[in-house]
Amino acid sequence: MPVVAAAVCPHPPLLVPEVASGAASELDDLRAACLAAVESLATAAHVVVIGAGSPRTYEAEAGGAFVAYGAPGVRVGSGPAVLPLSLAIGGWLLEQTKAAQLPRTYRAILADTAPDLCVQLGREIADSNDRVGLLVMGDGSARRSEHSPVHLHPRAEIFDTTVANALQHRDLDVLKALDPDLADELQAAGRAPWQVLAGALEGTSLSGDLTYEAAPYGVGYFVASFS
């Protein structure tokens, strides 16, 4: 069986309310969109979470924590906190949904992994006997505005718009063609995971639904569901 459902979510630490403290409500809509997208993975038999980090596979019980971002009270999994931020946020989202009950694998890939290798990894994930639900963690450009964490880049917005349209219209060719050097320059951490998604969706007829697209703090956030 191929991939039966997929979700795309961003992974800012701010998504965790304890990190945002009194500002948590500002991302209520993003949090709700992420949880709705992740909830749709519950139809699968096995969830694979993809995100940027040192290349490694982690089992379902792998731990993640947010103490490094100032919230010592929040963690996911049961093991030592080993998950990189992208996967820890993914696990944190999963544990709040019905998909929490499913077997789970985490897969970290380097943010600068070459596009063809990303697509190849996506195909491998899809080549499974399980009904796979894919959770793809990725942020858009961190250079969207004058107040962005990294200073405004004139090409950031058009890059993010290209990604948003490709997710909405399931345009796998556009996702595969995202330029890794430009993505690096724009500090768009989601490029490699999105290209894994493109490879994984090749053999499916799943259609995309972009449910959130905004850069409230100058970093592009997208939420999309594929069903």
């Binding site: 945002a20 403290s21 500002a23 961190a142 100058g218």
Partner: protein, 304 residues
Amino acid sequence: MDRSVRPRTVGPVNTGDGVLRLGSRSFGPGEFALMAIVNRTPDSFFDRGATYATDAAFAAIDKAVAEGADLVDIGGVKAGYGEPVSESEELRRTVDFVAAIRARHPDLVISVDTYRSGVARQVAEAGADLINDTWAGADPDLVNAAAEAGTGLVCSHVGGLSPRTDPHRMAYDDVVADVIRTTTALADRALAAGVRPDGILIDPTHDFGKNTLQSLELTRRLDELAATGWPVLVAVSNKDFIGETLELPPGQRGNGTLAALSVSAWLGARVFRVHDVPAARQALDFIAVLRGTAQPAGTRRSLA
């Protein structure tokens, strides 16, 4: 000031031991209560009678409440040496005024700064919630007045001074030990007289019966007072020990006041008697977050 964006206190604080209850308000451990000073005296050392007139005093109270004051402290007699104020004059300055504040601000905690039991009885009837006895039980009947009326009581330390006299060559083997001994004995006496245990505070009473070095020592070691378990009130605002320390006149002691207030809060004081409400509120809100009893209004920096 927009109160909705203040740091928020974490979790329930109005349950369990150590809760201070004054009027309709409860202040749990870790929660800071701010007391705004409103003088009904023509000769206050700091504001020189700015709120002596009734309308000005009402306006000052409305403003203090809007700026985040939890309590107001009404004084009808200048603390230091000055023109004699008879009991009838003190009553004239305070009783109707307290009743009018109560009518205007039903939930505001009203404290009256008086050392006279006769005044305490009548202001309590008019709606006062707390008797701030700055002269350390000079009138032995004051505890009975507080007990009968059900008000709270501030137990202070003046080193044996009589009301409205200034200290001269005060000497203590250990000023902190003396303050603890005196204020806790007064608190125990208040308890025995029937004052509500959750309405009793102790106040080291900076400057009163103390030189500057002694008031600094009290500030530095305020944690020892807090360790007694009684809620500690501090009234450091614009006082002479700050002025002498920084060589500044009363109008320029605001920054030093905030420093002394902040250290006191960090070391465990719970009620703060101040002139500048917005400044103190900001400092206390900040310290509550530092101490972990409140969370920041919002943390976004470097987290998107």
